[in-house]
Symmetry: C2
Subunit: 279 residues, 2 copies
């Protein structure tokens, strides 16, 4: 999917919502456990219920591989089921030396090898250029590079001040954004940005004005979505805001899909407002 196609979908649906499919066998409604593939059945119903409000889906790969071969089968069925127009993200945080990253790219992008055909994959930057570039060799596919994450440990290394060749002192996450722009432009690369604070978003938009940012961890409501939208949005929206648990586990009863749709719609309506205000 091209950046332009993604933007068109955003304007059509008036939404930049990404639904995170962090599907945990221990958390899905119990009546699904009698199904042959409960994980896929849960995802199928969530996708049916939310596809009109969401522009992207992001299966968190850990949840599938924790179930071994069976989990990979559920993942394969899920990715096949997601409507063509939706952008798909393998949230896998992969990254290794060149020939190994090539195989990870094959895993998520080459259907003839693994059965999977995602639009994008999240990649960890620590091993540098040749750990990322193999993912870019698949035409039309995207790398979403970890830049700034909002978890407790995110500050351990990402906020360290680094002295780069260009002499100006920056935080490591800023250096990651700057260096990686040599590998691909905003048509092929996005950044994971856990920032919900204005100052960080402004800093990132200074050095990556055109890129899409994947923002995880926003709940169904609240000021943080407004803050992200106000300070993070660019002329092509430039935001995919993810919500996982607040949508998919909004109800644990038989009505889980209906309630998920309601939650997704609430977020979409808020997003429609911000698109009008800040685009």
């Amino acid at each position: 999917m091209t950046k332009q196609q993604l933007f068109e979908q955003i304007t059509q649906k008036n939404s930049y919502l990404c639904v995170g499919l962090d599907t945990d066998i221990k958390k899905i409604p119990s009546h699904l456990l009698k199904e042959k593939d409960p994980i896929f059945e849960f995802n199928r119903q969530i996708i049916d219920a939310t596809a009109q409000f969401a522009v992207a889906y992001k299966p968190n790969i850990a949840f599938y591989e924790a179930l071994g071969a069976k989990g990979w089968e559920s993942l394969q069925k899920t990715i096949e089921y997601i409507p063509e127009e939706c952008f798909t993200i393998a949230d896998a945080k992969r990254g290794d030396i060149g020939n190994t990253s090539s195989l990870y790219a094959r895993t998520f992008f080459d259907k003839s090898s693994s059965g999977l055909d995602f639009d994008s994959v999240t990649v960890a930057p620590y091993m540098g250029s040749d750990s990322v570039i193999p993912f870019l060799e698949f035409e039309g596919k995207w790398v979403i590079l970890l830049a700034l994450t909002s978890n407790d440990g995110g500050d351990d290394f990402q906020q360290l001040l680094v002295n780069s060749e260009e002499s100006e002192i920056k935080n490591l996450y800023q250096q990651v954004i700057l260096t990686s722009q040599k590998w691909a432009d905003s048509e092929r690369m996005m950044y994971v940005v856990g920032a919900t604070k204005a100052d960080k978003l402004l800093k990132i938009r200074e050095i990556a004005p055109e890129h899409f940012l994947l923002v995880p961890g926003i709940g169904a409501q609240g000021g943080s979505l407004e803050e992200v939208s106000k300070y993070g949005m660019n002329k092509q929206c430039g935001l995919l805001v993810n919500s996982s648990r607040a949508i998919i586990y909004a109800s644990s009863g038989d009505d889980f899909a209906k309630v998920a749709a309601q939650e997704a719609q609430l977020v979409q309506e808020e997003m429609a407002k911000y698109l009008q205000m800040y685009l």
Copy 2:
């Protein structure tokens, strides 16, 4: 497996060789392709041929997941087949926020969930403490944290000079080693160190004298194994030196297992010499 048990195996076998199972369906001898599970059949014969010369096996997870669910089945059979006394490494380079890392830990350590039961997993440090600690919650299991890698892109970020709280300026990889020692000691954590040069190994041994180092990318012969052994060895050996392609693909004919054994033995004999010289 405890550090002491690993050391005992090293002294018994006179070896600190780790055989990397980077098993590629495109590279294995063609006569194996008629087998029901060619990947497992290749691994089985390699393991039988090399187990007396190797103390560890390291399946590179990318090679298995690139084949989807089928690949995970081959991986499961392989890990079950590796002799009990050998240390097993899931070379997966995982790392994510806390609840997701918990699921990755379950993937590689909890046989009842995924079918896999590795002794250790390689983890990427970029997301910090809570991306690593969940792996340590499995008793008796190890984290092998990426520190310094020798790939082309390794220098992009790992060599950056950082200003940490403790004021002294260090390279990022040194900071990773220092910070991560707050999370676990040398009984539970090892480091991936691609260094083959004396100066880097000496720097690392200054700040991590007791830890095991997993050193990838050493060929069957040559000065580099000597350099690693001379400058990297500590009182409990403290080294696992990996060789993948130079052993498993030493022959592409029917005799692949026999030739792999010969190559593994050559490395083992060189290691026996260094154990006598430097331990």
